[in-house]
């Protein structure tokens, strides 16, 4: 593929992202799993417990970014398979990786906007200084990483969104529970090794460093781990969708 064609493919991926933004952000599963669920979880976690705001904010950030960015991706592929619009997209001159990238960009944008709102509320209402360069860069990488996870989850060739949402819950909740949101990594002891398998772990650790100036890993290690997971999940999403493409129709 020439450079010109590659640039065109990126432009077309943005067209797919724009379409996703117009269509999918008001769909029920996105609202429920992307906004309501993390809000309820956070309230349930925080109310009635004597936890400091410094401890709560990194968890809230991690939870918001994780659930919002990974909420849209799983909805798109089964929905479009059912509506036969995926077939329409595949028949146009955009490579499959361009379609997947478009979906990831849309999820990324959705998650990032919501998380930045949470961040702004934290700064303005609670007066907490959380914005550091590491956190900003980490939030961008993590948003891309969790969006790619959403696209990995949506790869089974079904036309039933509820099946993918069930799979999504099965994968996301264990990751969420082992990522140091409720219990800091330093206090996990034996279970700590398991937490290293979740990309969310590194983002929450990065956020703790920004707020509390203490973390298990250094910011550079967290950023590198997030970047590694992003590449791995993005490549996995594209290969799985490619492998399952014929079975969608």
């Amino acid at each position: 593929m020439t450079m010109k064609m590659t640039i065109e493919q990126f432009q077309r991926a943005f067209a797919v992202a724009k379409k996703d933004l117009l269509i999918y952000f008001l769909k029920g599963p996105t609202i429920i799993f992307g906004l309501l669920l993390p809000s309820f979880l956070f309230v349930a976690f925080a109310i009635g417990r004597d936890l400091s705001v410094d401890f709560l904010i990194p968890g809230l950030l991690g939870m918001t970014l994780f659930f919002t960015t990974s909420a849209v991706g799983p909805v798109i592929a089964p929905w479009e398979t059912r509506m036969r619009t995926f077939e329409r997209l595949v028949s146009t001159p955009i490579a499959l990786w361009g379609i997947i990238l478009g979906d990831i960009i849309a999820s990324f944008a959705f998650g990032l906007v919501i998380t930045l709102i949470v961040l702004a509320v934290g700064v303005v209402l609670l007066g907490i200084q959380v914005i550091t360069l590491h956190l900003l860069v980490g939030t961008g990488i993590a948003a891309f990483c969790f969006s790619s996870l959403g696209l990995v989850i949506s790869s089974p060739p079904t036309s039933d969104p509820s099946q993918i949402m069930m799979l999504s819950t099965l994968i996301k909740f264990p990751l969420f529970l082992i990522s140091g949101i409720f219990i800091p990594l330093t206090e996990m002891e034996g279970a700590r090794v398991i937490s290293f398998m979740s990309p969310l772990t590194y983002y929450v650790d990065l956020a703790r460093f920004s707020v509390q100036e203490t973390s298990y890993f250094s910011p550079s290690v967290n950023l590198a781990a997030l970047a590694g997971f992003t590449i791995l999940l993005c490549v996995t999403a594209i290969s799985l969708h490619k492998k399952n493409l014929n079975r969608r129709f």
């Binding site: 593929m1 064609m5 065109e8 493919q9 432009q11 077309r12 067209a15 797919v16 724009k18 379409k19 117009l22 269509i23 509506m83 036969r84 619009t85 077939e87 329409r88 997209l89 595949v90 028949s91 146009t92 001159p93 955009i94 490579a95 014929n246 129709f249």
Partner: protein, 318 residues
């Protein structure tokens, strides 16, 4: 150069051979029809030609580009109307057309082209309504307009008029004819034999994944010349067996009409008139009918329908 060259294209789903080693070409400015019953493999063929499905074996070249090796270049030349309606129902017709424009890399004249198509298809007043609020006919018009957005060199139209109202059907047929005048090739699949007869330069008849004939419609009709028939209706009730005159090969009753199949209509017509006189009955209508494409279709597909096929036989049109 042909617009489409298909070589030994085969698609196997598990053990089922949906398309079995088909080959054909489509010339520039040609309307090529794919005719066949449900499950014949028409839609699978179109999906392979448009790069949606990967063939099990064989290849297809669209405008000089192999659909497997250079899919993006090949797809750039195509306009597609898939079998099932699939515009984005949460977007407006205008948004759907603009999206197609972006996906085909149309930059400067995207909106102008979209608005021209909306006007052509009588959709301009609904340009900003969501597609989900449009009628089926309007919805299908949006889909055909989407296929024309990129000034394609070849149109793949999978049952484009199926289930539509008369006005929409006529409009889409006019667009197909006009496309040919503008130098565009068309691959049309249809169940509607008269539509294929009216529109197509050549027709391939498919059955059980195989092409059983490719010819011009008039030549195909000659395949079954012996199916000339006389259609007659009487004023009074008549029993079918009474019309079994000499030279009548077969009789079919269709409502109050009888269709008498014969190789010698010049002998059967006087016999019908003589029968009416003798029984004091009146002939209300009498028509001599040549073989039509339906006869050809039934003749060519009948031999295969009792035969077996690899895998099970209850395949839907994939």
């Amino acid at each position: 150069m042909n617009m489409v060259d298909v070589f030994d294209l085969t698609k196997v789903f598990n053990s089922l051979k949906a398309v079995d080693s088909i080959s054909f070409t489509i010339k520039k400015r040609e309307i090529f029809g794919l005719l066949g019953p449900n499950g014949a493999g028409k839609t699978t063929t179109i999906r392979m030609l448009t790069g949606i499905l990967t063939p099990t074996t064989g290849s297809a070249v669209i405008g000089g580009y192999d659909i497997q090796k250079n899919p993006l270049q090949a797809k750039q030349l195509m306009g597609i109307v898939p079998e099932m309606a699939n515009a984005y129902i949460d977007l407006s017709p205008l948004q759907n057309l603009l999206l197609m424009g972006e996906l085909y890399g149309i930059k400067d004249k995207r909106e102008k082209k979209a608005r021209e198509l909306l006007l052509l298809f009588g959709l301009h007043e609904k340009a900003h309504h969501k597609v989900r609020t449009l009628s089926r006919g309007m919805h299908q018009r949006v889909i055909v307009a989407m296929a024309l957005m990129n000034d394609a060199s070849i149109l793949f139209l999978d049952e484009p008029t199926s289930g539509l109202d008369v006005e929409s059907t006529r409009l889409i047929r006019d667009i197909i004819r006009r496309s040919k005048d503008n130098g565009i090739s068309v691959l049309l699949t249809t169940h509607n034999i008269s539509e294929a007869d009216q529109l197509c330069d050549r027709i391939a008849i498919m059955n059980y994944g195989r092409i059983v004939a490719i010819e011009r419609p008039e030549r195909l009709k000659r395949v079954v010349e012996s199916s000339t028939s006389i259609e007659v209706a009487f004023s009074e009730k008549v029993e079918k067996e009474e019309l079994l005159f000499e030279d009548v090969n077969k009789i079919e009753q269709k409502g109050d009409k009888f269709r008498l199949y014969t190789d010698r209509p010049e002998n059967v017509i006087p016999a019908v008139v003589a029968y009416a006189d003798a029984t004091q009955n009146k002939v209300i209508s009498l028509n001599t009918l040549g073989p039509d494409l339906e006869d050809v279709f039934l003749r060519l597909t009948a031999g295969e329908s009792n035969g077996s096929r690899n895998g099970n036989d209850d395949e839907n049109d994939h």
